[in-house]
C-alpha cells in the first residue's frame, strides 16, 4: 500500500517494522531536525548573559543524567535514590584524573571527549556493582541498595584526603580547534558540547529501546516471570539497567565537572538525588521525551523558587532560611502531586497535544 509519508491520520501499521519506526511521518522528522538546527543556531543571533547560559547548560546536563535515570526507573521499573551519587562518580573520576595528571594536562584539556566517555564507563561499573543484588532478590529492595550507595559515596568523599574531603577539586580549561576556551566563551562552548551529547545520547536511547536489549528492560519491568519464561535473565537485565544508568550519570557528572571547572560534594547529595527523581517523575517515567521535559521544568521551577526566596528575604527575618526550606518543599510537592494526578508526567500532555493536531479536525 502506498502510504503518504508526509501526512498520517491515525495509526495504520501493516508490519512490525512500520511500528518500530522512530518517525511516524516525514513531518515529524523535519520538525525534529529543524528543532535541533534551531537549538544550535540561536546563540549566534541572540546575545545571552553568562548566567542565562549557565542555566541552559545545567538543564542540558540534567537531561543526560535523567536519560539514565529514566532507563532504570522508568523503563526497568527500579527506584534509584542514589542517582546523584552516580553523577558524582563521573565527576570525581574526571577530578581524580585532573589531580593525578595535573589540572592542565594535555589528556584532560585536549582529549576531553575521551575523559567524558571514560567517566561514563567508571559510572557504569559502579552502577553495575550497586545493581548486583538484583541477581538475588526481586521487588524494590534495590531502592535501599541505591540509598546505601549514596551514603557510602558521601562518606568516602567527605573523609578521604584523595578527594580533598569534599572540598572543590579543580579542573583546567579545555582546548578546542580555535585554541583555549576562554572565560568569556566557556559557557557558550559547553552549551554546544553538551547539546551535541544530549542529541547523541537521545538517539542512542531511542534506538536502544527498539532493540531487544531495550525491550527486555520493559519486559522485566512489566512481568519478570514472563520475561524469564521468554528467555531473558531478569537479574542480569536489572544489573545492566543500573550499569546503563550509571553510564549516563557518569557522563553527566564529567560534564558538570568540566562546566564548573571542579567537583565538590554539595552537588551530589541525597537532596540532589531526590531532585533528579523529581525531574524523571515530572517529565514522565518510561517516556523518552519526558527525559527532556522534566529537567527543563524542574530547573526552571528551581530558578523560580530561588527568586521567590531572595525576594521574600527582603521582608522576612534573616533567621529564617527560606531557600533551604522552599526547595525540598516544592520538589516534594511536585513529586507527590504529579504521582497523584498526572503519573504519566508532562510527556503525556505533549502526547495529547500531538494527537490533537494529528487527528484534527476530528475530536480526540
Amino acid at each position: 500500500m502506498a502510504t503518504n509519508r508526509w501526512l498520517a491520520t491515525g495509526n495504520f501499521f501493516t508490519s512490525y517494522k512500520e511500528e518500530q519506526r522512530i518517525f511516524l511521518t516525514n513531518i515529524d522528522r523535519l520538525c525534529l531536525w529543524l528543532l535541533i538546527a534551531a537549538l544550535y543556531a540561536w546563540p549566534f543571533f541572540v546575545e545571552t548573559s553568562n548566567k542565562g547560559m549557565l542555566v541552559l547548560d545545567n538543564i542540558l546536563i540534567a537531561m543526560v543524567a535523567i536519560l539514565g535515570l529514566n532507563l532504570v526507573t522508568g523503563f526497568a521499573g527500579l527506584i534509584s535514590i542514589g542517582h546523584a551519587a552516580f553523577v558524582g562518580v563521573g565527576a570525581y573520576t574526571t577530578a581524580l584524573i585532573a589531580s593525578g595528571l595535573g589540572t592542565d594536562h594535555v589528556f584532560l584539556t585536549h582529549a576531553w571527549p575521551v575523559v567524558i566517555v571514560l567517566s561514563g564507563m567508571v559510572g557504569a561499573i559502579f552502577g553495575g556493582i550497586v545493581g548486583l543484588p538484583a541477581l538475588r532478590l526481586k521487588h524494590l529492595y534495590l531502592a535501599i541498595a541505591t540509598l546505601s550507595f549514596q551514603m557510602i559515596f558521601q562518606w568516602v568523599i567527605n573523609f578521604s584526603k584523595l578527594f580533598n574531603q569534599g572540598q572543590t577539586m579543580s579542573v583546567g580549561r579545555v582546548f578546542w580547534l580555535t585554541g583555549k576556551v576562554g572565560r568569556k566563551d566557556h559557557y557558550l562552548f559547553w552549551y554546544f558540547a553538551v547539546l551535541t551529547i544530549v542529541v547523541i545520547s537521545g538517539f542512542l536511547v531511542r534506538n536502544l529501546l527498539r532493540t531487544r536489549y531495550g525491550r527486555c528492560l520493559v519486559a522485566v519491568r512489566d512481568n519478570d516471570r514472563a520475561a524469564d519464561a521468554m528467555g531473558m535473565h531478569p537479574g542480569f537485565t536489572k544489573v545492566y539497567a543500573f550499569a546503563l544508568a550509571g553510564f549516563f550519570a557518569g557522563i553527566a557528572g564529567s560534564l558538570h565537572c568540566y562546566l564548573y571547572r571542579g567537583a565538590g560534594i554539595e552537588s551530589f547529595t541525597l537532596h540532589q538525588s531526590i531532585s533528579y527523581l523529581a525531574m524523571a517523575i515530572v517529565g514522565g517515567l518510561g517516556t523518552l521525551s519526558g527525559s527532556f521535559f522534566g529537567p527543563a521544568a524542574i530547573r526552571l521551577l528551581d530558578l523560580g523558587v530561588e527568586n521567590l526566596s531572595s525576594w521574600s528575604s527582603t521582608f522576612l527575618p534573616s533567621t529564617m532560611n527560606i531557600a533551604t526550606a522552599l526547595r525540598p518543599l516544592t520538589f516534594g510537592l511536585v513529586i507527590v502531586l504529579f504521582l497523584m494526578f498526572e503519573p504519566r508526567g508532562i510527556a503525556n500532555w505533549w502526547r495529547i497535544i500531538k494527537s490533537y493536531f494529528k487527528l484534527w479536525p476530528f475530536k480526540y
Binding site: L132, K138, M151, W155, T319, L339
Partner: protein, 297 residues
C-alpha cells in the same frame, strides 16, 4: 575493660532506639509492602512536637512525651489518608516514590520552623549525676529510654498477639484478599499501620531528643539508619527489627570506639551499616528472620 563495657552499654542504648525506630518501618512494610522512605522525618517531627509542647506550651515533659505520641499517631494517619489511600491499587513503585516526595515535603516544613537549623535540648528532667554500672557510666535518661523502649515493644507484641485489631493486621500482612473476604477492612488496617508507625516513631524521637538533644540532621540520620537495621532483621519481621536494631547499635559503637583514629579511618560508624547492608543484600537478602518468598507460576 571499662572502655569495652562503656561501649557495650552505649551500643545497647542506641540499639534499642534503633529497634524502636525500625519497628514502625516494619509495621508499614508488613501490612502494605511500602518502603516508607519518610520514616526519619516522622521521627523528627515527633521529637519536635514533644519539644514544642514542653518548652513553648509548658506541658510537663512526661505528659508532652505521650501527647506527642498521640499527635503523631493522628498525623501519620492523616498522611496515609490524604496521600496514600488514593494510591491503593497503583503500582507499588509509585507509592514508594510518593513517600520520597513526603520526605522532601516534611524536610521543607521542618526547615521553615526554627527547628531546622538550630540545636535544642530538652529541659533536664532526671537527676544529672550518672549511674555507675561495672565501672561504666550511664545517664538516667539513657536508662529510662531503654526501659521505655522495652515497654513499648512489649505492649506492641501483646497487641499483635492478643487483640482483634492486631490479629487482623497480621492477617492483612499475610494475605490481603483472604482477609478482605472475612470482613477485615484493608484500607483501615493500612491507616492503623501508619498510625502505629507514627506512634513508635514519636516515641523514638522523644527518647533520642532527650538523650542526644534535638538536631535535625541527627534525627534525620536515625531515619536512614533504619534501612540497614530492617534489612539485617528481615524486612517483614518485627522481632528481627528489635534484634537487628540492637546488633546495629553495638556494631556502630564498637566501630566508633575501636576503628576511628586507627588506619586513618574516621566516622566509620556512619558508613559501616551501609556497607553491611550492601553485603547482606548480596549474600543474605532476607536478613536474619525475614521470610523467604517462594514463587510458583
Amino acid at each position: 575493660m571499662t572502655y569495652f563495657i562503656q561501649l557495650l552499654i552505649s551500643g545497647l542504648v542506641v540499639g534499642s532506639i534503633y529497634a524502636l525506630s525500625a519497628l514502625g518501618f516494619v509495621l508499614i512494610y508488613k501490612s502494605s509492602r511500602v518502603l516508607n522512605i519518610a520514616h526519619g522525618q516522622i521521627i523528627a517531627s515527633g521529637a519536635f512536637i514533644a519539644y514544642a509542647l514542653t518548652v513553648y506550651a509548658g506541658v510537663p515533659l512526661v505528659i508532652s512525651f505521650f501527647l506527642s505520641m498521640a499527635i503523631t499517631f493522628f498525623l501519620s494517619m492523616a498522611v496515609e489518608r490524604v496521600f496514600l489511600r488514593r494510591l491503593i491499587g497503583e503500582p507499588i513503585i509509585s507509592v514508594i516514590m510518593v513517600t520520597i516526595g513526603l520526605m522532601s515535603i516534611i524536610d521543607g516544613v521542618i526547615y521553615l520552623t526554627p527547628f531546622g537549623s538550630t540545636n535544642m535540648s530538652f529541659p533536664k528532667f532526671f537527676p544529672p549525676e550518672p549511674l555507675n554500672l561495672l565501672g561504666a557510666t550511664v545517664s538516667w535518661t539513657q536508662v529510662v529510654g531503654v526501659i521505655l523502649t522495652a515497654i513499648i515493644i512489649a505492649a506492641l507484641s501483646w497487641f499483635f498477639k492478643n487483640s482483634t485489631l492486631g490479629i487482623s493486621m497480621r492477617a492483612v500482612s499475610d494475605d490481603q484478599l483472604a482477609s478482605m473476604s472475612i470482613g477485615i477492612s484493608v484500607p483501615k488496617v493500612f491507616g492503623l499501620a501508619w498510625a502505629l508507625a507514627g506512634l513508635t516513631a514519636a516515641a523514638a524521637g522523644g527518647i533520642i531528643g532527650n538523650i542526644t538533644g534535638l538536631n535535625f540532621d541527627t534525627l534525620h540520620a536515625f531515619g536512614i539508619i533504619v534501612f540497614p537495621v530492617v534489612i539485617l532483621g528481615g524486612l517483614d519481621s518485627i522481632g528481627g527489627a528489635v534484634v537487628a536494631g540492637i546488633i546495629m547499635g553495638l556494631i556502630q559503637q564498637f566501630a566508633a570506639g575501636y576503628l576511628d583514629g586507627n588506619w586513618g579511618l574516621q566516622g566509620t560508624a556512619e558508613v559501616l551499616p551501609y556497607i553491611i547492608l550492601l553485603i547482606l543484600l548480596l549474600f543474605k537478602p532476607h536478613g536474619l528472620f525475614g521470610t523467604h518468598e517462594i514463587e510458583r507460576v
